[in-house]
């Protein structure tokens, strides 16, 4: 009797966890696959009967036949749908890239302001964060496009800021450099500067290891690159000329014109995301315990050194993961461009191309595939970076 231990009695199969586990997995897989097949077969028959088309991507080679407001690469309506898709993709990249840079800068400033001991400064940051975190991005974007940029004066009466920068309801005209023939040579010189800078940084690091006093490696690296660049700029015959915008008739000429839609999208994304990044930065800095700061001070580090060598490296570990998801959000949020007429990936592919060709399946596959790979790529890169700066436990 005593040998029959409780665990040796097999429960009936309907209460056996292993049997139940296998059974429930089969059930779930069956339901999911079944639903998938059901939808798929509906789609295929629907496509064949209603539209008499089969899924194919060959239409991408046909002429697009529509214009796109702005493009980073050469594009005209005779070019293919695929080319139009790439134009949209590059526009998304452009706005996401610039948005991430500026939102990070603004977010760090506001996050640090939030922690300021100055009451007013900290209040201003808190109000900024509370306002923009609680307004839908889409409302902000449309407000920015329709109530700010559209209400700017006409070009003829444009607001002129020093630069000159022309603010008008067509967008913003800024001075822009035009590369001359020697631009290529200048880039080579600059490359050489980077190599030299890296050598200097390596030398300084070795020296720092020997003496135990780490010099400001990044600063010296930048100084070296800048010095070489400056020499190159002076020696070479004008690698770049400055093209300044000026008013001519009803439009501005020259310079670079950032369209009203682009500016509205970019500024909306920056202002919105910066509020979230500020919170991430604040939480990161606050996560470093007070003892660390006190210990650093008692070791004789000055406040700037404490921030650079003690607080910041530790805060970064807390900051990176949520910052990554903010970057991903910004990239995905740039798809709201469709609301204000900026031709990003989704506006071009999900709206214009889709309406012209009626190829829903193909276009949505391409759009979602693109966003998905963008997201996975970003998180991959950030994970690698995160692993490098992670706390190495004993």
């Amino acid at each position: 009797m005593q040998e029959t231990h409780a665990s040796q009695v097999r429960p009936p199969f309907y209460r056996d966890e292993r049997v139940l586990g296998i059974f429930s997995q089969f059930l779930v897989v069956f339901v999911v696959v079944g639903l998938g097949l059901f939808f798929y077969s509906n789609m295929i028959t629907g496509l064949r009967e209603k539209h008499s088309v089969a899924i194919s991507f060959s239409f991408l080679g046909q002429a697009a036949g529509f214009d796109i407001g702005e493009s980073l690469i050469e594009y005209s309506r005779e070019r293919t749908y695929l080319r139009a898709f790439v134009v949209g993709l590059l526009n998304t990249f452009q706005v996401a890239f610039l948005g991430i840079i500026f939102a990070t800068a603004l977010g760090i400033v506001i996050g640090v302001m939030r922690l300021s001991t100055n009451f007013l400064v900290s209040r201003i940051a808190a109000i900024y964060i509370d306002i923009f975190r609680n307004i839908p991005l889409l409302v902000l974007l449309i407000f920015w496009a329709q109530a700010v940029f559209l209400k700017m004066p006409r070009v003829a009466e444009a607001i002129v800021l020093p630069g000159p920068i022309f603010l008008s309801n067509r967008g913003i005209a800024i001075p822009w450099g035009i590369p001359t023939e020697s631009w290529g040579t200048f880039l080579i010189v600059l490359g050489a500067g980077v190599v030299l800078g890296a050598a200097v940084a390596w030398f300084l690091r070795e020296q720092g290891k020997r003496t135990g006093r780490m010099p400001l490696i990044t600063l010296w690296f930048l100084v070296t690159v800048a010095a070489v660049g400056l020499v190159g700029w002076i020696v070479l015959p004008q690698p770049m000329t400055l093209d300044q915008p000026f008013l001519e008739g009803f439009n501005t000429q020259g310079g670079k014109v950032l369209s009203q839609q682009f500016m509205a999208l970019l500024s909306g994304l920056i202002i919105y995301t910066a509020a979230f990044i500020a919170e991430v930065v604040r939480a990161g800095i606050q996560s470093v315990s007070k003892g660390q700061r006190e210990a650093a001070t008692s070791l004789g580090l000055n406040p700037a050194q404490t921030l650079r060598l003690i607080i910041f490296p530790q805060a970064l570990r807390v900051i990176i993961p949520p910052l990554t998801s903010q970057y991903l959000n910004l990239t995905k949020n740039s798809s709201l461009a469709i609301a204000i007429g900026y031709p990003d990936l989704f506006a071009v592919a999900g709206n214009t191309i889709l309406n012209q060709t009626g190829r829903e399946i193909e276009m949505f596959t391409m759009i979602m595939g693109t966003y998905l790979s963008l997201s996975l790529l970003t998180s991959l890169l950030m994970n690698i970076y995160n692993r490098r700066i992670r706390l190495v436990e004993r």
Partner: protein, 406 residues
Amino acid sequence: MTTVAGTPSDRSVLPITERYTVLGWVRRNLFSDLFNSLLTLVALAFIVFIARLLLRWAFFTAEWGVIPANFNLIMRGQYPATEAWRLWLVIHLLGGVVGITWRLISGQFSGAARILIAIPFVLMLIPFFSMGTRLNLLIAAAAAGAGFYIAGHMPIQRRGRAAAYLLLAYLVVMLILLRGIGAEEGPMPPVQPILWGGLLLSLLLAFFGITLSFPLGVLLALGRQSKLPAIRVISVIYIEFIRGVPLISLLFMGQVMLQLFLPDGFPLVDRVLRALVAITLFSAAYTAENVRGGLQSISRGQYEAAQALGLSTYQSTMHIILPQALRAVIPVLVGQFISLFKDTTLVALVGIFDLLGIARTILANPDWLGTQQEVYAIIAVLFWIFSYSMSYASRRIEQRLGVGER
């Protein structure tokens, strides 16, 4: 003598007391050194600049006439005016339900309750409201008071459960009232969801989006943590796929492609419902990730203890693991709900007239050309009020539960 300050033992015991005078406070916080003083001056200049800009705009430039003229549109969209009494009834009932639930759950007339009951009275002060509107608000406030009083005098045993049943019943009644029932000529003719609009629709989308996506998200989170490989893989694929694409692509897919997936002859699914499905599926993936964070914070000991007590997987999940896991992630979940509420604005891009969609139709009206600043400002303020109250409430709950305090 203990009054002799100066002995080392006394100094170590007595805390440093700081006396604050107004000037002292200003000195310490604003003008402690040269840099701080400069910062204060710059900040002051900035505040004055912004405040002047805003006030001048609000009181001199802006033409607020567009708001009272379109107030009904902003609130309820195309919902027929003859049926507006149903919406008021929903609000009156809401007042009653809030009163009863408050008594059942909190039990007392505390600070937050005062704020809640003040809302209708504050709204009554809005200058352009008609007498009827004010009366209706008064009824809602009275219903809340009555509910609070009555619930206090009822012998209810299981208060939490009673409140849950009441909310469920309210939900059903609300839907019937909104949607209508019976014939076209009856007392409550049906109103198609596509006619619902404005703030009403935004709130409904958010409410149903939250209530539907939450259980789905919890299931997905459990699925992702499950020991069963097939369930885990399916959950991971779903979550990562949804989180990798923008909501707008799902909404467009819902509008353009949903009908393709359904069999021939399947009735056309309502546009609003399609949008709600897209929002729910989208939000569930994010909720799942948040809940997973909570699940991961539960120590192994809890699982093992539950098992040792002989609880089944279902029992331990429902009674031991989930309550702790969800409590740990309340702030994150509320943040997710707020972003869902804000994301409902995206339905305006697929031709549904939520608050933002209605704003666009108002601006398309030639009578109100050029009032973008006023209309969008009001829309933004409305959204802000609701999201900010949610985040404020979550902070209060957090404090009460002591989450995040170590």
